[in-house]
């Protein structure tokens, strides 16, 4: 994992004066909270990434490849060099 959060915190401190008219910015967000948020996001994403993939995607790719193979045969006839 890249130090995404660190980069985000730096961005925020350099943008201190943005959003003075009450527009939502996280100027006021305490770095610890920001860090906790980053960890939560990574935990969430990590959990999604670790989940096993359903077979349907592998089956789909196998079907696609199969179809391509069958389709490519008549075309090969036109090209004698193949």
């Amino acid at each position: 994992m890249q130090p995404v959060l660190g980069a985000a915190v730096r961005t925020k401190t350099s943008g201190m004066n943005a959003g003075q008219d009450g527009e939502a910015t996280d100027v006021a967000i305490d770095p610890k909270t920001l860090e906790a948020l980053g960890e939560a996001l990574k935990a969430h994403y990590g959990d999604l990434i670790r989940a096993p993939l359903p077979d349907r995607f592998f089956e789909l790719l196998a079907r696609l490849e199969d179809k391509e193979r069958r389709l490519s045969r008549p075309i090969e006839k036109r090209d004698a060099s193949e």
Binding site: A8, I29, A40, H44, G46, L48
Partner: protein, 177 residues
């Protein structure tokens, strides 16, 4: 026919594609249909992919376009905001970490799709602002302000739901390096 290298790269990205789809749509069942459609479209347009560029970025862009043009309305009606997908997915961690993640997901589900996607791409997926901007077909500045707003909003929601931050200590930590 796409070369094997294309197939292999595509295959290697399906997990992250699915994670992105779940985060974007907030629904497991939609996410899998979304991934399926993305694979079909990527396969049909394989010649459009430039070898050496990011397969992940390319696939995310396709998925995102399909989502915003076909799925967005439908998935809003069927969000798994009750934590259905969380309980079906969580394969690791103890009860506390389940609860913490589920709370967090509920909070995430209250954000707009644009906010969720930027949090996922930059905050969780570790993409640069530039990569995220390319995927979302927008400017870096827009990504930064969306990210900033998404964070503020998420924290706001979580502060309302008392105790979410307290339980964060219990998140599973395998993903830490």
């Amino acid at each position: 026919m796409p070369p094997n290298s294309f197939r292999d790269e595509l295959l290697a990205e399906i997990k992250s594609l699915r994670a992105f789809a779940i985060s974007l749509s907030g629904s497991m069942s939609f996410a899998d249909d979304l991934v399926q459609e993305t694979i079909l479209r990527a396969w049909a347009k394989w010649e459009m992919f430039q070898p050496g560029t990011s397969m992940r970025g390319w696939l995310f862009t396709i998925l995102r376009n399909i989502y915003y043009s076909n799925y967005r309305k439908r998935s809003r009606e069927v969000q798994d905001s009750d934590g259905v997908y969380a309980s079906r997915l969580s394969v690791s961690g103890d009860q506390e970490s389940h609860l913490a993640l589920e709370d967090f997901r509920k909070a995430l589900s209250k954000l707009s799709a644009e906010q969720r996607e930027v949090l996922m791409l930059v905050g969780a997926g570790g993409l640069s602002y530039q990569e995220a901007a390319t995927i979302c077909q927008t400017e870096v500045g827009t990504i930064k302000s969306r990210l900033s707003r998404a964070r503020s909003r998420l924290i706001e929601i979580m502060e309302l739901e008392k105790g979410v931050f307290d339980r964060m200590d219990h998140f599973p930590t395998e993903s830490q390096t």
